[in-house]
Symmetry: C3
Subunit: 143 residues, 3 copies
């Protein structure tokens, strides 16, 4: 597929306020809707967590695996009162590290007007210090 046209850029913000401190929210449908709204046919959509204790990742939509991911993140980057960061009064050192581990953004390719994801790829917002309002940017660049 090849196309040569003028560029379009579109921006939208998603807001989250999870009930739990840690949560994993599927946002594939919201990103697909944004793709449709933008009207771009070929390009990229950036999906990026704007708060530094949250992430975005692409993996399976299966509750057992989501449980495994959460347990694994907690094992590798555990809640721990001993973080130096906590001397500022914060208690979320682990959440900053979990964001690094899972990464905070993905680029979604758009082909023929649709998210060009593999058959099992689903986009997730990963909250590590929730119970307050936090934001994700969606930014589309393309034709």
């Amino acid at each position: 597929m090849k196309a040569t046209e003028a560029l379009q850029a579109h921006t939208k913000y998603l807001w989250f306020n999870t009930k739990n401190r840690r949560d994993y929210v599927r946002i594939t449908d919201e990103v697909a809707q944004f793709c449709q709204e933008s009207g771009i046919q070929e390009g990229f959509i950036l999906v990026s967590a704007m708060h530094i204790t949250a992430g975005v990742y692409v993996n399976d939509w299966e509750n057992g695996l989501i449980h495994d991911i959460d347990e694994w993140l907690e094992k590798i980057a555990p809640v721990n009162p001993g973080y130096q960061h906590h001397k500022t009064g914060e208690d979320n050192g682990d959440a900053h590290l979990k964001r690094i581990l899972i990464n905070h953004q993905v680029m979604i390719p758009v082909t023929e007007g649709k998210l060009d994801l593999g058959p099992w790829e689903q986009i997730f917002y990963a909250e590590f210090d929730g119970q307050r309002k936090k934001r994700v940017i969606l930014k589309a660049l393309g034709i």
Copy 2:
């Protein structure tokens, strides 16, 4: 370098079917060839694994290091029959976690018609549950 022209978008899919369950395949040449085919002079190429038990990364082309990376991934995200994900009948929970750890995509800058990589940067496809057909998307956006 500055350029102001109409945008081009190009898409290609690479297929893999590795002999081993875990494998690390250098794909710099394939991405460079795609860059040339696309004809873009300035822009980005997304290289993204479309299956959720594989990744893409940029690091050294040195067999000792590739061995170290594999050993390290297995240490941090080990094969383990205890994953909840396995209640679905799957046995690849570790592969999902390894993909998160190594990340599943990179953006390659294109400058003056070539991949703008550092002297030792090489692009790799990382397979964590192979021995079947799997896909990587290459998507170029630029001038």
Copy 3:
């Protein structure tokens, strides 16, 4: 926000030569300056470490947390004489793994001519094998 105009591409390289082997250098101001120089109003800026023993990440500008991140990286991907990579004469196997863990690049969205970062998001260059000249590419694509 929607815009339909001709594309612009801009490229710049930042050089680093850190005093310490491991160091974390805030580069938000340098990226913001590049954004202004480029004149793009809507688009993306790629910030990517071109050496395979360094990374780029977005997180908090707080010294305690930077200490925690360094300690955590060293715990998960430690300096270790036993890496196979060292048979080449190198001694920086840990630095290659730390780059994988923290990731080596970010895409920064640009909206209305400015870096569209969350209130606490700061861009960092993470050096894991310093005391020599190393490079980061900044590449802007947008309107």
